[in-house]
Symmetry: C2
Subunit: 343 residues, 2 copies
Amino acid sequence: MEKEKEVTIYDLARKLNISIATVSRALKDDPVVSKKTKKKIFELAEEMGYRSNHFARNLRNKRTDTIGVIVPRLNSYFMSTVIAGIENVANNEGFNLIISQSSESAQKEMNSVKTMFNNRVDGLLVSLAYDTEDITHFETLYRKNIPVIFFDRVAEQDMCTNVLIDNRRAAYEATKHLIQQGCKRIAHITATPKRNVYIDRLEGYKRALAEFDLPFSNDQLIIGNLSQEDGALAAAQILAIPERPDGIFVANDNSAVGCMLALKQAGIRIPEDIAFVGFNNDPVSKVVEPNLTTINYPGYEMGEVAARNLINHLTGIATITSTNTILLRSELVVRGSSLKNKT
Amino acid sequence: MEKEKEVTIYDLARKLNISIATVSRALKDDPVVSKKTKKKIFELAEEMGYRSNHFARNLRNKRTDTIGVIVPRLNSYFMSTVIAGIENVANNEGFNLIISQSSESAQKEMNSVKTMFNNRVDGLLVSLAYDTEDITHFETLYRKNIPVIFFDRVAEQDMCTNVLIDNRRAAYEATKHLIQQGCKRIAHITATPKRNVYIDRLEGYKRALAEFDLPFSNDQLIIGNLSQEDGALAAAQILAIPERPDGIFVANDNSAVGCMLALKQAGIRIPEDIAFVGFNNDPVSKVVEPNLTTINYPGYEMGEVAARNLINHLTGIATITSTNTILLRSELVVRGSSLKNKT
DNA sequence: CCGTTAATTGTAACCGATTACATAAATATT
DNA sequence: AATATTTATGTAATCGGTTACAATTAACGG
């Protein structure tokens, strides 16, 4: 069960009676090596099953062609879509991905950053954990000049590059849409506004209300963990509000769906009694009845853009140091759950 | 913008006026080094911001503490859940993950295998692409004695270890359940039976039919790509069948849901006219109305089990060479879509 | 045919850790 | 105090590439 001995450039060199330097150059397709020698070397390499040793190379080159990715959780539709986008770009460019999840814990996130750091990733793509308060754990990376790009859940720092959508505007559009459908009392279901995404969505929501002179009071704000189950709990709260809302803007589709189902159970008609707008364009939004109006959040593109920018920076094609924020387009997708005025 | 110089054990040794050997040992917490010296070294390391160079270490040790993962696609609920399970175990054990997706293409899968191989992963976890016919591209790994564990989409090889559920039995249970609910003409929506998962599910379905003396003809078999959209297309086919089925077993929830929605649109009542059973226990199964009866597929556990077994093998705790197959428990989750006999 | 330049190839010093073996220091034994 | 043990540290080879610089060979012009 002994591992077969690895073939090295020394073996190739010995067999061909040439120097390892020539072999090394040939394998990198260095034009300085004559075609005949190259041919010989390539053929022998193939024949002997040679494979280059990345560690020896990285040790010398001090780069790893590896990108680290840290996300709050892997098993959400949105995140897995982003990662698919990242993988696509990275793979095409010959970069490897090492991935870890923080499970929404700042502590685990710090550990992951340290691990990535020790693994000498060339750069890092990060979506912050829910309870990450400060981002000092990234300072070691800055000191070593390792680029970090945040996406979706970003930090309000000045020194880093962020890829995200305009959450404020999207939330504003979502809320405005409800208003235009005739809603007068619009509630908002979201998570504790600690992270940018929730803060911004809340702001956009409030801005729309203010603009159309609709009142806002705190009992219109329902804070939860945005899970589907939590949406059902939110439904109970909604029903308990004296002046029942006639429209709800939810910060994610999962929770919106949970809430809708529970309300329907309670005999509420959607959208007639309460209209809904969600966020993310998750697959469930097309399954629930009526289909959920939502904000299309381009996860795959976000992954591609983040990875592309990081790699361009690493390869020197374009630098991100001057880029502070990249905003992706998002748009309202109108479906049945909000269409009070059916035409 | 020059990268700060890395601190090495040489720097530490020089500063403390001791040898690099002692430093190296101390950092690995080798008991042979005295506590005092260790303390000094740890403190200085901390102070100077030393981090070990994995490449130098790997170069020496010939192991990478890295596991490769190749999946057909990252952005599916099931796969991302499996990966979350893998990540959890790997991370706890100090292993890194490098992940790539084959996008259901055998060609891309081969490339990924090669990349993983060149990156010297210690082991590989693979779920095969849809159109992978033979698995000769894994032979290089076997030759170098790199363990490979397949999960979910496995190969019918004898030499490899597979982690999966008993698809045949699960499909049998699903179909039997429909029969017990009074269904007489049961259709099956699935993908081309090339991969084990679809072959086995088809067999289980047929076995149940046979056992209860129900007929099977090819027009009860609807082949598609199992997407939600494809489910809608399947609905059209269903409606076109002269003797319309009164029960449908679908090989995944997404497609089942697409089909259900389209049939409801066409005025079919579920489960009264047609009962449904899906597969996977995807979140959408709890959103569609009526809720979809399905097979609970323990993705997270599957990821954990696969990773745990691979790592145990790598660390020598337990070997997988004798293990051919690990079956995980799956079970039927009965919900409204199949309950014709409401009690 | 010889000197000069261009095209190839070789030599050897890294990159930063690990570890077998040798050596020195501290402690125990007689 | 001298010797045997144990404990702690050091020396140097090794892992497999990369690359600056030196050396060799081939091609060219006169």
